[in-house]
Structures are given as structure tokens and as C-alpha cells.
Amino acid sequence: MLVYLIRRLSQSLLVVAVMATLVFLAVYAVGNPVDILANPDADQQERAAITARLGLDRPLYEQFGVFIWNALHGDLGRSFVYNAPAVDVILERLPATMELALVGLVFSILIGIPLGVLAGLKPESWFGRTIMSGSILGFSLPNFWIGLMLILLFAVELKLLPASGRGPTASVLGFKTAMFTWEGLKHLILPAVTLALYKAALVVRVAQAGTREVMLQDYIRFARAKGLSPLRIVGVHVLKNMMIPVVTVLGLELGSMIAFAVVTESVFAYPGMGKLLIDSINRLDRPIIVAYLMMTVVIFVVINLVVDLLYAAIDPRVRLSDAKG
């Protein structure tokens, strides 16, 4: 187990290092931030001063060296726009996005798994077919359109839920979160549903396929031959086997929900990391973009590690002690 963890962590470090290089070079190629930051009336001298202050006058390899050196010390640079450490600016927005992603994840599990299992148990019934066709809708409707329609229906017409923004936060265990206030939850529901719909459709399909496959296995027949109730067969024998592919998909999707909630956050004017990223790209705020992408990489690496550990918890055949693979 420990050997496995160490090996995984060293692999992860390599991924982060490669990613740092790529991200830095790519962002460098995007454009000159001084064009946007400097006052349009600024003369040559002022522009040179800004360039020098931001360290952009130095050659590429030197900038890269400084970036790596600072990154190793936990410093991903200062935002050009906010004039604060980039990591702090992002971390300030992180709880809002995490909340959104977690609530979205819960929604997609609550919607996706039961529907997928039901559809998998009776794939030929009208019920199973309806769920599967419905999931295609969930896939193919564009995210922003769903968001707008939900706002129209629940905020504008029915006036049940707020249309945008984040609710008031309360401090729980030292975190400022809006998840535990009624007003905060109301603000979360629409964006979370928007975010969850696509994932739920994905979970439905994976769960349906998994359930169909598991139902044909000999051990299900043997379980029936033991005289077990359908509830026990589905709830224990099928569910635990079927969860293996679902966990994989959910893990990857949770990462993308945190990192790429950009569209949803923009539609709902939700003050999360995604909106920050869009704003920063518009302003060519290089340190924020780089720091954001670096954090995304770290988040994905961590989630993948957690998924692997979850596998071991679900599937005894993947106990991680044998690190030979």
C-alpha cells in the first residue's frame, strides 16, 4: 500500500512538472499583457516600466527559470490585475466552485444511479427505453441553454429560486460556505442542476450498461438460486459490482466539474473559479491562468488517486499491495 502510494505520488510529480512547462509556454504565446494593462495613452517609457516591473523584459528561459524556482517555493506569481498572490485570488474563489461541484456530484449520483439501475434491470421495457432516450437529451442539450431555460422557468416564471449569484455564507468548521444556509442552497440548486444534468446522463448510461452486464453473470443466478430477495440481489450483489465503472467516470467528471464549470458559472454569474479564469484570460492575467491550470492538474491528480483508493475499497481484486502491475 505504502509502496503503491509512493510510486503513484512520484508519477504525479512528473505529470505536474510536464504540465508546468506546457502551461507556461502556452500562456507565453497567447499575447502581451502589457497591451491590455497599460493605459492606452501610455508612452513608450511607461510601457517599458510596466514590462520591467512584471519581469516581462527578460528572456523566455529566464522567466521560466524564475517561475519554476518560485513555484517550487509555493509561489505561483502575483496577479497583474488584482496585485495579490495568484494562488490567494484563486483560493478565495475555490469554496464557491467546490460547493457547486459537490452539490452537482450529489445530484448526478442521486439522479443517475437509480435511473441507470432501473433501466438496466428492464432494458426492454418502455420505462427502460424512456430513461435511455432521455439520457441522450441530457448529453446533447448545451449546458448554457439548459441554464437559461432553468432560469426562465424557476426564477422568472415561477419565482421559486434566485436567478444568479451566490447566497450568504456561514462559517462551518473554519470554511466559509453557503451550503448550510437555506438561502445559500437556493442559490446553488439551479447551477448545480445545470452542471449535473450532463453528468447524470453519463452516469445513467454507465450504470445501465454495468447493470445489464452484471445481471447476466453466474453469481447473480447463484444468488437467485439461494432464494435471496430481489432487493438484496440488486442492492448488494448488483450494485457493488456495477459501481466499479461508475466510480471511474464520476471521478473524472468531478475533476472536470471543478475545473471547467466555466460556462455554468458565467450563465449564473456565479463567483467561482471558472468565472475568474474567463475574466483572467480576457485580461491576459498570466499568473492567474498559469496558477489556475496548475491547480487543475493537481486536482485531477488527487482525484485520480482517490478513485484508485476507492477501487480498492469496492473491488477486493484490486487490493493495492501488489505494486508490480
Binding site: D218, Y219, A225, L228, N241, P316
Partner: protein
């Protein structure tokens, strides 16, 4: 004579498919008494496994039991509700399957899978059920059963897994055990061990067994009676020595001839030409006629009815195999 533990009478199982209604089991009749082992023999697709599943009440749509009766100690099972069947399954009739690598759930521990089999039928404490599971494992010859209860299926070899499955099936002391080729996937040495153990267990508990197999040598050592199935019908049945020594039906004769034997070294194996017919294209008359050396015009026109022979035997054939010359001489 006591009433048979399992009494199957004129059982017909059919499957609704696009090509119409296909009959997988067509009028099968047999009885098994307490402590008796019936060997149900046939090629793939002869309907032997479907017969076993029908006894369990595990025929799934599009299949159904079209007619006939299955009686457990005189009690009719056909037409019972799913709930009633569930109370019988695993409790009074148990079943084990062919592939031990896939009959145990890979993600659940052995104790979970054994305890649930007990608690599905009796309200006993977790601990009492666990004790019974441990004893059952010890009975089928699994060393250090207490530790093995905490193991997962992948930590067992194939033979050990089949022992676990057998122990699980016998947990509730069923009156009938249906065994669907449980030793086919195992090495011969392990097969022999398991056969011996099952024989002892069945004799001790007085369990009636239906042992489904395509392997005549298994039947020869284990069964009391044998029923040979072909294309959904029992074509010959009788006590195992009688049938194996002097088969009446040419198909039985062919099956016996296809088994390699050290008494006939150097002689080419007798084969049955062709393949068992698909359910969708059962030939008219006797379904075996296209592969039978003894077939005549009668065989191509009429399905032979059951004929009773001496020594408690039955066969369905217009041209039975004459008694072996060597026996007469």
C-alpha cells in the same frame, strides 16, 4: 414405495423467439428419491440445463414452463408465485453451477455470501449463521474454515470455489440438489475428490440429486439412475449399470462409444456424425434420425413413443440396439 422427493412429469419448457415458439424441453418425465442420484446426460443444447433451471423455478422470460408438473414431496411447484418459489429456492431445492470461477460474487466475502443464504430463509443471528457456515466449509474439506470465511473468492482456486459453492448450496439441508456440470471446469483429480465428497454428503443428508453432465464417466461413478436427453426429450432412462452396459437407444450407444477407454486402445473412436439439431430446425420424426445408422423411413416419419424394457428401463426408439453379442455368448 415412498413418494419421490422430486417428481417431474411431462415437463414442457418453451422460449418465445422471433422464429416462433421453440421447445427446449419437450415432455420430460423423471423421479428422484431421497438419497438417490439421477445423472441427466446429454450434449450441449439437449435441454438438460433448462430442465435443471425449470426445477429451480429460474426460467426467465422469454422462456416459460408451457405445461407439465414438478412436484417436491408431492407438492406442485409449477404455477407458484415468485414469492413462494423464493422461499423454496435455496431452502428445499438448491443448485450449483458449472463454472466455479464465476458463481461466487467477486466483490463480496465468503462469509457474506454464505450467511445471506441462511438468513434469507431463517431468522437466526449473524453469529449463529456464521457458525453454520464455518461448519459447512469444514464439511466440504476446506482447511482453516474460520480464516477462509473472511477471504474473497479470488483468493481460492477453482476446486476450492466449487467446494464453497457446494457448501453454500447445502447450508439449509435442501431435499433436492440440482448440480449443473459442477465438475466440468475442474482438473480430473479435483473432480474425483469433489465427486466423492458430494456423494458422502448426499448420502448422509438423504439429499436427492440431479447431476447434469455430458461426461458419462462421472455418471458411471456417481449416479444411481441415468436419463439420456436428446433434443429436449429423455430418450433412454434406467439404472446406471444397465444403461451403460447394454444401451438400448442408438444415441446412448453412440455416446458410450465416444468415450475413450483403455480397453479399446488403438481402435479409432466411434463418433456420432453431425451435430445436435438446433431447436429451430428439429427434424421430423425421431430427432436423432439424421445422425443414426439404424434410421429407417419410419424414424423419419414418426416420433417413437416410450417403450418399457426389462430392468426398470425405458427408451424411445423404433430400432433398439440388440443386446451385446458378448453378453449372450
Amino acid at each position: 414405495m415412498a413418494i419421490p422427493v422430486l417428481d417431474v412429469d411431462n415437463l414442457v419448457v418453451s422460449f418465445g423467439t422471433r422464429e416462433g415458439e421453440l421447445t427446449a424441453v419437450n415432455g420430460v418425465t423423471f423421479q428422484v428419491h431421497a438419497g438417490e442420484v439421477l445423472g441427466l446426460v446429454g450434449e450441449s443444447g439437449s435441454g438438460k440445463s433448462v430442465t435443471g433451471l425449470a426445477v429451480m423455478g429460474l426460467i426467465d422470460a422469454p422462456g416459460r414452463i408451457a405445461s407439465g408438473s414438478i412436484k417436491l414431496l408431492g407438492e406442485e411447484l409449477v404455477g407458484r408465485s415468485e414469492r413462494e418459489l423464493r422461499a423454496i429456492r435455496g431452502k428445499r431445492i438448491a443448485m450449483i453451477f458449472q463454472d466455479p470461477m464465476t458463481t461466487l460474487n467477486p466483490v463480496l466475502r465468503i462469509d457474506t455470501q454464505m450467511i445471506e443464504a441462511i438468513r434469507a430463509h431463517e431468522s437466526v443471528s449473524e453469529k449463529a449463521a456464521r457458525d453454520r457456515a464455518r461448519q459447512a466449509l469444514a464439511q466440504v474439506g476446506i482447511p482453516s474454515p474460520e480464516e477462509r470465511l473472511n477471504a474473497y473468492p479470488h483468493q481460492f482456486s477453482g476446486g476450492m470455489r466449487q467446494r464453497v459453492a457446494i457448501a453454500t448450496a447445502l447450508l439449509n439441508r435442501p431435499a433436492v440438489l440440482v448440480a449443473d456440470e459442477p465438475t466440468t471446469a475442474l482438473d480430473v483429480t479435483i473432480q474425483a475428490q469433489i465427486l466423492a465428497e458430494v456423494q458422502t454428503l448426499a448420502a448422509d443428508h438423504g439429499t436427492a440429486m440431479v447431476w447434469i453432465t455430458h461426461d458419462l464417466s462421472v455418471v458411471a461413478g456417481l449416479a444411481d439412475r441415468i436419463a439420456v436427453m436428446y433434443s429436449g426429450r429423455i430418450v433412454e432412462t434406467g439404472p446406471v449399470e444397465g444403461v451403460l452396459d447394454a444401451p438400448i437407444h442408438p444415441y446412448t450407444n453412440g455416446l458410450i462409444g465416444s468415450v475413450p477407454s483403455r480397453n479399446r486402445r488403438g481402435v479409432p473412436l466411434a463418433q456420432i456424425p453431425g451435430m445436435a439439431p438446433s431447436l429451430a430446425r428439429v427434424p421430423p420424426g425421431c430427432p436423432f434420425n439424421p445422425r443414426c445408422a439404424r434410421a429407417t423411413a419410419t424414424c423419419r416419419a414418426d416420433m417413437p413413443g416410450p417403450t418399457l424394457y426389462e430392468g426398470d428401463r425405458m427408451a424411445r426408439c423404433h430400432h433398439p440396439v440388440p443386446a451385446p453379442e458378448s453378453a449372450a455368448a
